[in-house]
Symmetry: C2
Subunit: 225 residues, 2 copies
């Protein structure tokens, strides 16, 4: 059987840990791609390194969105706590997934990967425009026209296997695939040198509720319970 290669966008969070496991379960050799974009959450990159330990390769690509400014995730603004997200969250980074997917597309071309895995899902796309199914579909059409391989009829498939799952569904699937979620970090605002989850931000709330609903013990190390 020919070796199959995939690029996996790996943030270090729960969702990306799950898509890495999904890609591995489909016998892909996985080339993990993380971004150092000046995010306040440096612990997330450490989590990505832990998760990528058994992968074929792991590239941490420095990008410089901080040159542009404009988002709580890269700035010094307060991260909202215990708020319901309505509309587009203030943590939105302009064109972030567009940029991330574009690097992934380049890496896929270079590694002869036939798929790019991205961990967008139904919870995310309630707020972020670039997490919606219609965005991924439009990106696919563009990608088919963007590259040498695409022109030669050998397209790269953008895979978003979590697209229609709730957080609890993702956790249930990942658990069945053996994902060790204690390695992951999704908190927007981790606490202390160890980077414990704050337990209060939107991301922590969604995660905690997901484990509860999935009936899976939550291995997250919270700063407060």
């Amino acid at each position: 059987m020919d070796t199959k290669h995939a690029v996996v966008l790996l943030s270090g969070g729960l969702d990306s840990a799950t898509i890495l496991a999904v890609a591995k379960s489909e016998d892909y050799l996985c080339h993990c791609l993380s971004f150092d974009y000046g995010q306040r959450n440096r612990h997330e990159l450490e989590a990505a390194k832990r998760l990528a330990a058994g992968a074929a390769s792991h590239t941490i690509m420095p990008i410089h969105l901080d040159h542009f400014g404009g988002s709580a995730l890269t700035g010094d603004g307060e991260v909202p706590k215990n708020t319901e997200t309505k509309g587009i969250p203030v943590t939105y980074v302009p064109a972030r997934n567009t940029i991330f997917l574009s690097y992934a597309l380049a890496l896929a071309e270079i590694r002869n990967a036939e798929a790019v895995f991205i961990g967008v899902n139904s919870v995310d796309y309630s707020g972020y425009p670039d997490c919606r199914p219609e965005f991924i579909a439009a990106y696919q059409k563009m990608a088919n026209l963007a590259t040498k391989r695409g022109v030669e009829g050998d397209t790269v498939t953008i895979r978003a296997p979590l697209q229609n799952l709730t957080k609890s569904g993702i956790i249930a699937w990942g658990t069945s695939l053996g994902v060790d979620y204690s390695l992951t970090l999704t908190c927007y605002d981790p606490v202390g040198a160890e980077g414990l989850a704050c337990g209060g931000c939107d991301s922590c709330r969604l995660r905690r509720q997901g484990f509860l609903e999935a009936g899976v013990d939550d291995p997250t190390r919270y700063a407060k319970k």
Copy 2:
């Protein structure tokens, strides 16, 4: 009249100098965006700086395609001389315009720009997949879905005004707009500390022929005539 903002992708070459002039002629305040992607041609960035001197802003965004490898433009391979390009040139950089446009889209969102100008044209798209009109059209559709502004119905228009022009047509138009082409550099393999045009690479050949056909004196400083 409201101030209009545009992002202009500025490589420092003849085509990008022309689209900057086109954008200015339409009364856009221009935010120039260049990329330092480890290209062998460092003189190109110097040309971009000269061209952007009168613009509203100029960002030189470091990107690290060299982490990926895979092209003559960023590697140490020989640049082909005096060859007709058939199919996709060896100077192709995977997903380059996809990545460049994605950063431009982010900057457009931040600066409230209503347009992104890119200097792709009919000569380029004979070889590069991501210079073709159908690629730009697909990118536009994706961009409409990718950003907060797009979702709110206020899309960023991807403008490729050189799309259907030959090199001589571009030169004629730019000359009528007052572009000083002596500031630009398009050579793949410039010579010496001054960065003189080699006169032999595909890019120099197309440029020289363009001036000839346009009936405009060629101000390019060639290492050899």
